[in-house]
Amino acid sequence: MDVPVHDVLIVGGGGAGLRAAIAIAEDYPEISVGVISKVYPMRSHTVAAEGGAAAVIKDNDSLDDHAYDTISGSDWLADQDAVEVLVSEAPAEMIQLEHWGCPWSREPDGEVAVRPFGGMQTERTWYAADKTGFHMLHSLFQTSLKFDSIVRYDEWFVTSLVLEDGRPHGVTAIELKSGEVHAIGARAVILCTGGAGRVYPFTTNSNIKTGDGMALAYRAGVPLKDMEFVQYHPTGLPGTGILITEAARGEGGVLVNRDGYRYLQDYDLGEPLELDDPNHPQKRTMELGPRDRLSQAFIHEREKERTIEGPHGDYVNLDLTHLGERTITRKIPMVRELAVRYVGIDPVTEPIPVRTVVHYMMGGIDTDVEARTLQPGLFAAGECACVSVNGANRLGSNSLTELLVYGARAARSAARFAGETPDVSLAALRTGQEAQRQRITEWLSPGAGGGETVAGLRSSLGDALEEGAGIFRDESSLQQACDTIRNLKQRFENVKLTDTSRTFNYELTAALELECMLDVGEAIAHSALARTESRGSHQRTDHPERDDERFLNHSLAYQTDGDPRIDYRDVVITRWPPGKRTYGTD
């Protein structure tokens, strides 16, 4: 097979990748764009986002307010130039999606409706009931079908970036259907591979979120930024980790402990209002506080033995019963569907058991506001990237917005780069292809490998991170995680594949994913060990205070032959000097 060559190749067909592909197809119709994804685009994890996407659209709101909420929510670790770009380009991106048919929920007068969300002082979250990510992804996917210039490689698994002379020339990838290793050339590559929640054992993330793009960049010498910041969502279903959206609290749902007490009032999140108070739910207060603080409060309640014991661990209750059937069915139907199906509870009449669950990586591939990485020709957008608009804690409903704004920006940057870049080196691509082909052939040959299994190593990695780099960490727990992961990387050399066939060999792809997860896990543990302060989602019990003197900066983890090297870069401050992060009182 000849090596296909595109001007721009996008790795990942979720929200960011499809937004980027459409941007190129619309604005640069002469440019050839490829989208390569290990799953069909509709399966990408954007599909599971529920609550909504933030953008200023109403008269009572302002871009500065959205920026301030995002920056204070980030515990001042977000780059403020990147946040200003996010909030100012968000409204047009959201309207664009409306023009592409996204079925946004509406006000009676036909305007787009918005709802309150955690950490936001004004209701500005656009939503499509509580299947916002699903509708956004399908609107983007269906719109992308209009463009003949978008060439898709569905169910192809990227195994490496091909680099030569200081720029990418494309990728190597396994076509899952045939199991063959191919090379695809490109003058510019955009990574849009999503997050890596699967490195933890208990996550809302789908099976495919294994940090593949992060690992590709890391191996190419690009640093992973702020990897110590891992978001635990406060309301996942016990057992499965299925997400119960923050929109449930945006609509007025409350969290109560075993005594029926709204315990968030004990954790510096303000005073509760009566449920029939017209101002309930109060913004930036109690249940509408930020996710990091709510998840930390859950752990404290558990330490006080005020959570409830269940077959899948301790939980608290999310009570929606006062909202009534009409509101629940109209505004958050999926919450009801999921609770009834997976825990046998109808939220109309009973509270839903919930607990903290790994949800989102604030960190990722180091990018700038043009979505560029330090490697010319390599770009990244969406959850796999860290630009950073999320800093130490992402606010709910900013990630869907981010993938639109920065997906489109990455497209423009990559298209410009491709236009100024000479032909790709087919020789380099063939060399890369041959190397990957050999590696996989050896791996699949009978007798290869030792006594380790993919499932066994994956499970050990998850345990190491959950125990060592969970909601609260300290030097000793993190050192332990670093040591364990170093050991797991050695053991990975002895991994044994029992499936030696070519067609849809999902054991092989799981092994390749595990290799990525080990790289990502290593970056998380070492970055967390090095940051001796507490900020946002990174809570060090041995260093409980925020330390702006030493750590108003982004960590940058570089891969080396041994442990990663951790470097730092100052946070960009434009108009919002670091301040105290207050909820419930401002």
């Binding site: 799953v39 069909y40 509709m42 399966r43 990408s44 994890h45 599909v47 599971a48 047009a92 309207i95 409306e98 023009h99 592409w100 048919g101 079925p103 946004w104 929920s105 509406r106 006000e107 009676p108 007068d109 036909g110 305007e111 787009v112 299947k131 699903f134 509708h135 399908h138 269906q142 719109t143 079908l145 209009k146 259907k177 208990f202 789908s206 099976n207 495919i208 057992g239 499965t240 980790g241 299925i242 077959p311 899948h312 569907e337 999921l338 199906r341 997976y342 825990v343 299994t453 499932a455 594949l497 029992t498 499936d499 066939s501 070519r502 067609t503 849809f504 060999n505 999902y506 054991e507």
Partner: protein, 253 residues
């Protein structure tokens, strides 16, 4: 989440799983697995237990495990189901027979080849063609909650292919555009912002389109997201027929 040793119910479940590796085998076969399960396990959990603990060579697609990505449709005791929404307890203690979705070529084990659908989908032009285009700066198109409700149901399709697997017409003739794609065309036809109905007519009303549907209704019965493709197709038939009658009565109008 796969069961762990500590919380298994102690009762085994028997799974008879379709196996086929076209590269190396001439005939499919069924492989029996007897595995422990937990009361709240779904069929997909049981398959993942097999893959992780018993037999890593078993191939199947899955991703979200919460009924929204559409990856994990299979035949469960002869019915097309999303395995992440189908509980083991529904069948226990009877054996559970797992096969790839009917009416599709098998790529391997439980993995179907759905390229025909992926190639057909763009032909119905499932994207918004604004009736009255305007620039982004002029803001959103207004759409009342009532107008939204007109098409919302048909916008809920997750492309899980269960309806194709249930459709007797598609089973006989894979050139039939099929329930999900036709429902999606109708979703856009019904959208108050859209003006593309006439442009979709060629394909939607072609021999492979709505008129091939014999209204058995199995697509609607098996749809896990209550999209009602059969209803969408009936509406499309009526709507395009009405357009045709009007065009006959009012030539040029």
């Amino acid at each position: 989440m796969a069961p762990t040793d500590s919380d298994l119910s102690g009762r085994p479940v028997v799974m008879d799983v379709f196996r086929f590796l076209p590269d190396e085998e001439t005939e499919p076969r069924f492989q029996r697995y007897e595995i422990p399960y937990r009361d709240d396990d779904v069929v997909l959990d049981a398959l993942n237990h097999i893959k992780a603990e018993v037999d890593a060579t078993l191939s199947f697609r899955w991703a979200c495990r919460m009924g929204v990505c559409g990856s994990c449709g299979m035949m469960v005791n002869g019915e097309p189901r999303l395995t992440c929404e189908t509980f083991v307890n529904e069948f226990h203690p009877e054996p559970i027979r797992i096969e790839p979705l009917a009416h599709f070529p098998v790529a391997r084990d439980l993995v179907i080849n759905m390229e025909n659908f992926m190639d057909t989908l763009p032909t119905v032009k499932p994207w918004l063609m604004p009736a009255d285009p305007k620039p982004i700066e002029e803001g959103e198109f207004l759409q009342s909650p009532g107008e939204l409700a007109t098409y919302k149901r048909f916008s809920m399709c997750i492309n899980c292919m269960l309806c194709y697997s249930a459709c007797p017409v598609y089973g006989l003739d894979e050139t039939f555009i099929g329930p999900a794609a036709l429902a999606l065309a109708q979703r856009y036809n019904l959208d108050s912002r859209d003006g593309g109905k006439a442009e979709r007519a060629n394909v939607v009303t072609s021999h492979e389109g709505i008129w091939e549907c014999t209204y058995v209704g199995d697509c609607t019965r098996v749809c896990p997201k209550e999209v009602d493709p059969a209803g969408a197709i009936q509406m499309a038939k009526l709507s395009y027929a009405t357009d045709w009658v009007k065009s006959m009565l009012l030539p040029g109008g």
